[in-house]
């Protein structure tokens, strides 16, 4: 009722406001003869707008939304991202539960005998390997310069399940208190051997794999300086992580320069420890996976 009175009042004050062609009321504004129609907003648009307003009120009530002085409103659902994460993790754990109990209870060599658990371990190990180990050892575990191939039979610190487990868990020359540790002296940089002596012993080391003629002076230096760790026959010593020098496998290259440089500067490669980064289950899975790659003992 009131609306109508307004309109008639306005009409009497400002003259006709109905557009002749469309029959729609104008706003009464005029620009060089152009007038603006006062169409209402489309209904569908208005309804969607109102629905979003209603939806937002529902959202405020059900989900965490408004800040308060000491935090925020929790919402009736009590939803948080952390809760959601826990639920999802619990669901996966639930699915793995069938294996996990037996997996945890059984020693590593027992799992390797147990078909179902072994498959479970290898699946977990393979995915963890890609995420964590592949950056150095390669996606196919074939290693690269500085990083050993895990598919072959040559092991620096040992290839039994226990050895692999220890290497993964505590690392090699890592920051862990129980890390595997040994240190090869930098024979050149620390002035233990001179240039010629290092060249001789380089030739001797190469000769062990048939890459150079035997060098008698080098052999003598080898016996004095190197044999205590790498063995009289150059077959290495896993208890101190001294690589086999006679197997024609070269971590840092087989050129004369490369071997010379290793003896001069020493290398002492580092593998990080995974204790505290990966779970115990994951480390055991990785152990079995690496062991399965071809060289496991």
């Amino acid at each position: 009722m009131k609306k109508k009175t307004d309109k008639t009042e306005k009409a009497s004050r400002t003259g006709p406001e109905i557009d002749k062609h469309s029959g729609v009321e104008t706003t009464g504004h005029e620009w060089d003869g152009l007038k603006e129609l006062n169409n209402p907003a489309p209904r569908w648009w208005l309804w969607i707008f109102l629905l979003t307003v209603i939806w937002s009120i529902w959202y405020w009530v059900m989900y965490p939304s408004w800040p308060t002085l000491s935090g925020h409103t929790e919402g009736l659902y009590g939803w948080t991202q952390h809760k959601q994460l826990k639920e999802q993790q619990a669901e996966i754990l639930q699915r793995q539960q069938a294996y996990l109990e037996a997996f945890r209870a059984m020693p590593l060599d027992g799992i390797a005998e147990h078909e179902e658990l072994y498959r479970f371990a290898l699946a977990g190990g393979a995915s963890a390997f890609k995420d964590n180990c592949a950056a150095c050892h390669g996606i196919d575990a074939a290693g690269m310069s500085h990083y050993p191939n895990l598919n072959d039979d040559a092991w620096i610190w040992g290839g039994s399940l226990e050895d692999i487990y220890e290497s993964i868990k505590y690392g090699i020359r890592s920051e862990h208190n129980e890390t595997r540790y040994s240190e090869m002296p930098a024979f050149g940089a620390d002035g233990i051997l001179n240039r010629q002596e290092i060249l001789d012993v380089t030739d001797y080391v190469l000769s062990l794999s048939g890459l150079a003629a035997e060098n008698l002076r080098g052999a003598e230096i080898y016996r004095e300086q190197c044999a205590s760790c790498h063995g009289m026959d150059g077959r290495g010593d896993r208890s101190v992580g001294a690589p086999d020098l006679a197997d024609a496998i070269w971590l840092y290259g087989s050129s004369r320069d490369a071997v010379y440089s290793v003896i001069y500067h020493s290398r002492n490669g580092v593998m990080p420890h995974w204790d505290g980064i990966l779970s115990e289950d994951r480390i055991r899975q990785l152990t079995l996976y690496v062991h399965s790659l071809g060289g496991g003992e």
Binding site: L69, H82, K83, L85, A135, H146, P272
Partner: protein
């Protein structure tokens, strides 16, 4: 009620008044919580400010725009936690000014890169990323191995951070230069002093394989190796 807008639009003072009210509500909701932001930072064990060398590394990280491809924020989603480890918490970046959460992952998240790879790997990877990760598209940063780390004014950087609330002590700031040189040394002279200031688990070693010089690569790797390793999650009470 819905057709009253005509009246509001015709009365500029009423329009101004109502606009101010609406904008104020928006402003209050967005701005007031910022004054209470400390209530969202978890109480944790182990968090400390960066050492001078790590701080220099962080500056290089920012200078080279690492954040444009690498995030430093593990979200609380199952697949991310599975891949990267515990989700990031606010306390872990409380001393970062500016924080490096990032919003783009062309490369992997780096929030917990610390301790995951050896220094040797980082050196090889920075000098030629393809040498260790054949499918990598990361640019090479070989020049970092040649440039000396900018440490002559690192104390002033720390002083500035101290002013905005990072708990550097005056002692830390006074010893900043030598602490940085010590941390990058294989044969550290002042290791105990550095540890007494920053804690026993500070990584002290020559990071870049060149003991003769404290390079930008030393600083950057020192920074990488500490990322995500400080908070002791054994004592951390998870948020609900």
């Amino acid at each position: 009620m819905l057709d009253k807008h005509g009246k509001i639009e015709r009365n500029s003072f009423l329009l101004l008044f109502l606009t101010v009210i609406v904008v104020s509500i928006g402003g209050l909701v967005e701005i007031v919580p910022l004054f209470r932001v400390e209530t969202t930072i978890e109480k944790v064990e182990g968090m400390r400010p960066y050492t001078p060398l790590e701080l220099a590394g962080k500056s290089i990280y920012i200078r080279e725009g690492c954040y444009t491809c690498h995030s430093q924020q593990i979200r609380p989603l199952r697949d991310e936690v599975e891949r990267y480890g515990h989700y990031s918490i606010a306390a872990e970046s409380m001393y970062d000014h500016p924080f490096q959460w990032g919003s783009k992952r062309t490369g992997p998240d780096l929030a917990r890169i610390g301790g995951k790879y050896s220094d040797d790997w980082h050196v090889a990877h920075m000098i030629d990323p393809r040498s260790v990760v054949p499918e990598s598209i990361m640019p090479a940063y070989a020049f970092l191995a040649r440039r000396g780390a900018r440490l002559h004014d690192i104390d002033r950087h720390m002083r500035a951070l101290q002013r905005i609330g990072v708990p550097y002590t005056d002692e830390m700031i006074e010893n900043a230069y030598w602490d940085a040189m010590t941390q990058a040394s294989n044969d550290p002279y002042e290791a105990d002093a550095l540890r007494s200031r920053y804690g026993d688990n500070v990584n002290i070693r020559d990071f870049d394989g060149n003991p003769n010089k404290t390079t930008e690569l030393d600083a950057l790797i020192a920074y990488m190796q500490v990322l995500g390793t400080l908070v002791d999650f054994k004592t951390y009470q998870e948020a609900q």
